[in-house]
């Protein structure tokens, strides 16, 4: 059994600061918090690995300004960063304090290998540790104690439609895609690995009464021979430049940016997808790798990052760069309230009622891998 050295280090820091280590999220007094901050400042640095969203940079600078603690940030894709961190850990190197990475690799690679610290004991600021401040409470019914989901992303159906070309009568949703007239007439993200496309198709599973019927649909989908690209940017360009009027799995900040800048009427239909939360493929999760080298700075950063101040700044920054996610904090608004309302409704009515599907869960992953297998059978 691995030794929870990181937690011991954090406990040590807390003891040094005369603070009792909580078993789960608990409050500290302002004086105790000040001591933690002082210890963090003495450490001087917090090392963060984050996804490549440009929206995160201003937030990190904000933290530096507020606490005078240097953020050594390393942007990178999780499929490159997470195995590297695990390899370091296996060889006794513990170089990272905080991960702001998409959940797939964190949960599927680092978590089962014992590479993460429990996150809840680190939440000590009252406004962060208060269950009532979060939609879905602190855990949001996510079956992990190692990753904290701070945001809800805009995962809609995964389909994008150019409404300047097609009205709803011509095309509306998933069933339309397998009609004969759509053969070879839409573009998709390459289905060779877990992505927005596989997530979207996996999330369509609850619309069918059995796996077999869902698989029939997926087979029919790939039998339509949609054109595939492994670049989100290219799939988005196909839609905007008119090569296709419908694409699947190509959404992301680039397409959002194109829609805004070019003022194109591109719509993502909503309604037949039960995969509202928690989304994979976004940077909206926080976790702490095993044995963070700067335990106090880690604690200060994690608590500040989940505070109202940081979450508000984060939502605005992400919105400005085209990443349309919503904070799970109840006291944090959104530049587009209607969008926020829609996302939160889906979250509360689907996920919290047990209807949604977590795409990083065993079930979600099983379905995604099945999509990949069916795509391979179809020649992708």
């Amino acid at each position: 059994m691995r030794k929870p050295l990181g937690v011991i280090a954090v406990v040590g820091a807390l003891l040094a600061a005369n603070i009792a280590m909580p078993a789960c999220a608990a409050d500290v007094t302002p004086a105790q918090w000040d001591k933690i901050v002082a210890a963090a400042k003495a450490e001087g640095t917090v090392v963060i690995s984050h996804f490549t969203d440009s929206g995160i940079d201003p937030i990190l600078r904000l933290f530096e300004q507020k606490y005078g603690i240097k953020v050594e940030a390393n942007p990178g894709r999780p499929d490159q960063v997470i195995p590297k961190i695990l390899t370091e850990q296996k060889n006794g190197q513990f170089n990272w304090d905080v991960l702001l990475q998409p959940v797939n690799n964190v949960r599927l690679v680092l978590e089962p290998a014992g590479g993460l610290e429990p996150i809840l004991p680190l939440l000590v600021l009252p406004e962060v540790a208060d269950d009532a401040n979060w939609y879905g409470g602190l855990t949001a019914k996510v079956p992990t104690k190692l990753v904290f989901y701070d945001g809800i992303s805009n995962l809609l159906t995964g389909i994008d439609v150019n409404r300047d070309k097609l009205d709803r009568a011509q095309f509306n949703n998933w069933p339309d895609l397998i009609k004969p007239e759509w053969k070879k007439k839409f573009g998709i993200f390459y289905p060779g690995r877990p992505s927005n496309l596989t997530i979207a198709l996996a999330c369509y599973r609850p619309a069918f009464e059995s796996d077999a019927k869902w698989e029939d649909y997926v087979r029919a989908f790939f039998a339509q021979e949609p054109l595939a690209s492994p670049e989100f940017r290219i799939v988005a360009d196909w839609l905007v430049q008119g090569r296709f009027d419908v694409t699947v799995g190509g959404e992301g900040s680039y397409l959002e940016g194109l829609k805004k800048k070019l003022k194109r009427n591109i719509e993502a239909p909503v309604g037949q997808n039960l995969c509202g939360f928690p989304p994979d493929g976004t940077g909206r999760s926080v976790s702490v790798p095993r044995n963070p080298p700067h335990p106090n700075a880690t604690m200060v950063f994690v608590n500040w990052y989940l505070s109202k101040e940081a979450q508000e700044a984060l939502v605005k920054s992400f919105w400005a760069t085209g990443e349309a996610s919503v904070s799970r904090r109840k006291d944090v608004g959104h530049p587009d309230p209607a969008f926020q309302k829609k996302v939160l409704e889906g979250f509360q009515e689907d996920w919290l009622q047990g209807k949604g599907m977590m795409t990083s869960s065993d079930e979600g992953l099983r379905l995604q891998l099945r999509v990949i297998a069916l795509a391979k059978e179809a020649g992708y």
Partner: protein, 562 residues
């Protein structure tokens, strides 16, 4: 006791190179038999090998790889032999500057250039396709970049032609004109001279260039990954890529596939060594003569062809990269609020990581170049001239990092640094990255210098030694000046490789040390190709600047033929 310095140097080189390449290779080999999720309990077995070689589409991927490699290398070989001859042995106008154009083409980052070509040749919205249709020259778009020929074309335009011209031209320049003239005087025609004189003399260079080209073709995946899927074209390297970057990663089959490339390439590398050694290829003798052929009026036609080719390979991509860095959205001229902006430059230049990455890049790339220029000639000389029994082995070992795909080499390097106590302190440091880049560029650098040394007749050294010169003095006054142009070429290649290398740098860099290429990746991954183009422009200026500086010092980097 008298110490044989050359022998000592040889022993150190053999031990160091042997450890640095064989240890990571053995880690990959053993890891290919570890079955189970990465980082968790595994069992020993053949599961990875079975999974690797029974996967769907592997057969078509192998066929595609072979046919694409054959087409790309076949076309490149014929074209670059002609281009190199024109540049090195004729009175082509402006040949020095034209040759430098190929260097600039080589400096260009692949992905922004690829997007530029997609912008021009996309089967639906490509600018050239639209122009052709609008001008009435065709009823439907004639070109489709998402195709087998599209992949071949982009490879030729981005790197393949440029590298081979860079490698062949110095070799042609070192060809003694008296050999050609003697053949002519003996009654041989142009073809006979080519087959009986030029090709045999250049055999070592041709073998090295062809082998390196094939190895690069087998492991290249960036272009295939983007242009292949829409056309349902899978290649061997993209199969490896998918295993490595799956969620969760499936390294075992990737290692098995990579080791198979290594195994398949062993006879080819061995064959190249045997053929290259078979007889003396020396063409730089005490009677060396360089004479250029007079093309007459044809030289202007040749010049025009070069201008068109370099326009496509260099001017057009550079233009699009610079343009893209100033566009609101690359390729879109109809943005209502204005198509052009300085925002991307502001974003990149104001990022605190930019200056740090720039500093790290300059230090790492310069040190890699200098160290390569010092170490590689020494190893190459030992391989060619030492006569020690293990020199063939040393020669083979230098090829090893190139015989395994770069994606996997990065992982092997990571393990090498983390599992070797002597190297562990250098993990995540500039020194670690310098060593990694040197290992990655070792085959190209050493083989290139080796062919240069092989072209120098032993009689020159013997004459110096007979005149009383010491070995060191002979090296300094005879060998080094003769191979200096090639060594500088190697230095510039090492500099560029260190500025562009991503797969190694991403795994070995740290928050404290990272290169501009890793910084650029952040923008590429988030689809911000405009900001990535800004860094592409910076990298291009850096690389071109280094090449110019080298030229200023009179070190003929292909600009100043003998």
């Amino acid at each position: 006791m008298r110490v044989d310095l050359r022998l000592l140097l040889f022993a150190v080189a053999l031990a160091a190179v042997g450890f640095l390449v064989l240890y990571p290779l053995s880690l990959l080999f053993f890891a290919s038999f570890e079955v189970g999720p990465y980082g968790q309990a595994t069992t020993l077995g053949l599961g990875n090998w079975i999974a690797a070689f029974t996967q769907a589409n592997l057969q078509s991927a192998i066929v595609n790889t072979l046919t694409l490699t054959a087409a790309r290398q076949g076309i490149a070989f014929v074209v670059t032999i002609v281009l190199a001859w024109l540049l090195a042995r004729t009175n082509l106008p402006g040949r020095n500057w034209l040759e430098f154009g190929f260097w600039i083409s080589f400096f260009l980052p692949t992905l922004p250039v690829l997007l530029g070509w997609i912008f021009l040749l996309d089967g639906h919205a490509g600018l050239i396709n639209r122009l052709v249709v609008e001008l009435g020259w065709a009823n439907a778009p004639p070109f489709e970049i998402y195709s087998w020929w599209g992949i071949v074309f982009v490879h030729l335009m981005t790197n393949t032609l440029a590298v081979q011209v860079m490698l062949f031209t110095p070799a042609f320049r070192n060809l003694d004109a008296s050999l050609v003239e003697a053949a002519r005087m003996s009654g041989a025609g142009t073809l006979g001279t080519l087959v009986r004189i030029v090709v045999p003399v250049l055999t070592p260079t041709i073998l090295v260039v062809v082998l390196l080209g094939v190895l690069r073709s087998l492991e290249s995946f960036e272009i295939e990954l983007i242009l292949g899927p829409p056309a349902r074209i899978d290649v061997y390297s993209t199969a490896i890529y998918r295993h490595v970057f799956d969620s969760p990663p499936d390294y075992g089959p990737a290692f098995a596939l990579s080791i198979m490339i290594f195994v398949v390439m062993v006879p080819f590398v061995w064959g190249q060594q045997v053929l290259g050694r078979r007889r003396s290829r020396a063409s730089i003798t005490s009677r060396f003569a360089l004479r250029v052929a007079d093309l007459g009026a044809w030289r202007w036609l040749a010049f025009a062809l070069f201008v068109v080719l370099l326009g496509a390979m260099t001017v057009l991509p550079v233009f699009f990269m610079v343009l893209g860095s100033f566009m609101e959205v690359f390729g879109y001229f109809d943005v209502p609020d204005g198509a052009f902006t300085f925002d991307h430059w502001a974003t990149v230049l104001s990022d605190p990581l930019f200056l740090n990455s720039l500093k790290d890049t300059l230090v790492i790339a310069t040190a890699t170049a200098v160290a390569s220029m010092l170490v590689f000639p020494a190893i190459a000389y030992l391989i060619v001239r030492s006569g020690y029994r293990g020199r063939g082995l040393l020669d083979f070992l230098t090829w090893v990092p190139t015989m395994v795909p770069g994606i996997v080499v990065g992982l092997a390097m990571l393990w090498l640094f983390l599992q070797t106590p002597l190297l562990r302190p250098f993990y995540g440091t500039q020194l670690g990255l310098i060593l990694a880049f040197m290992l990655a560029g070792m085959a190209l650098g050493i083989q290139l210098i080796k062919t240069g040394i092989m072209q120098i007749s032993l009689e020159l050294e013997e004459a110096a030694r007979a005149g009383g010169a010491s070995w060191l003095y002979t090296m300094r006054r005879v060998i080094v000046p003769l191979i200096a142009p090639t060594v500088v070429v190697v230095g510039v290649l090492a500099f560029v490789a260190a500025t562009r290398g991503v797969s190694t740098a991403i795994l070995l860099s740290s928050h404290a040390t990272q290169t501009l290429a890793v910084f650029q990746l952040k923008f590429i991954e988030s689809g911000d190709m405009e900001a990535a183009s800004v860094i592409g422009v910076v990298l291009l200026v850096l690389s071109t600047g280094v090449a110019f500086v080298a030229r200023m010092f009179g070190l003929k980097i292909g600009l100043g033929g003998r």
